[in-house]
Amino acid sequence: MSLLLYAVTSSEEKVAGAGLGGMPLQTVEAPPLAAIVSGPAASQPRREELWEYDHVLERLMARHVILPARFGSLMDSRMDVRELLERRQKELRRSLDRVRGTVEFGVTTGWRDQLEPAEPETGTDYLLGRLALHRRASDVARRLEPLGSLARSSRQRVLPRPTLPVTASYLVETDRTEKFIEMVACLDGLLPHVDVVCTGPWPPYSFVEAMPQ
């Protein structure tokens, strides 16, 4: 029977509760790790289940140290799950240690006044426009540095889209979350050209894989 994977945790955690469609959560253990799974609620994950999935993970993160699985991770069998835990044990244990005692916050900045430059007349104009935009976005990224120093780990994307100068994820220790949000508000006040939105707390979605440093 196929299984829906929600998260990876330590085999010492005692997990209970319901997953998608009320299916009971179970663990598949391969000490020192365990996977949190349930029977599939449907033959394929559906888009309505996105919110429900988020709620399941929210409940899990409140009680356990978890590495969330990407939505729609269907495994063929318990043996398959065990094989995954064994094959990637080293990497998964390292990630679990890294996220212990933390939550993730997302920070998105958007230009306050979206300046639509005049249609560039030449290729050079276009490139100069892009360069100027990139410089402004890099400046925003620099001004957000205090957030990085409050976090255990962080990842930034500069100008992922022309409308968004910087998007970033921060892994923040739970006793520092209030301070972190205060700092976001403070920086929002200090940055005249961007609006800032901070989302979370999320399970550590952006900090589960071995990332290049």
Binding site: L5, A7, V8, Q44, P45, R46, R47, L50, W51, Y53, D54, L67, P68, A69, R70, F71, G72, S73, L74, M75, L84, L92, E104, F105, G106, T108, G110, R112, Q114, R161, T163, I181, V184, A185, D188, D195, V196, V197, C198, T199, G200, P201, W202, Y205, S206, V208, E209
Partner: protein, 68 residues
């Protein structure tokens, strides 16, 4: 159902824009983050990826246009 996971938003941003950014952040994490089991992500989820992300981005862009 709109996800309520906004920890802070610029006071000048309107509620719909804030909601859409939060939605985008959620989708970005659920569909592009997390432990990846290679080869096991279903096609249905991949469809959501493209459709919903584009939709959410479009809504944000439209919102910006309407604010002018």
């Amino acid at each position: 159902v709109t996800p309520q996971r906004t920890a802070y938003a610029s006071p000048e941003l309107d509620l719909p824009s804030t909601r859409h950014i939060t939605l985008l952040d959620l989708l970005d994490r659920l569909l592009a983050g997390g432990v990846v089991v290679r080869g096991h992500i279903t096609l249905a989820a991949a469809d959501i990826d493209l459709v919903e992300l584009d939709l959410a981005l479009l809504v944000v862009a439209t919102q910006k246009l309407m604010e002018r």
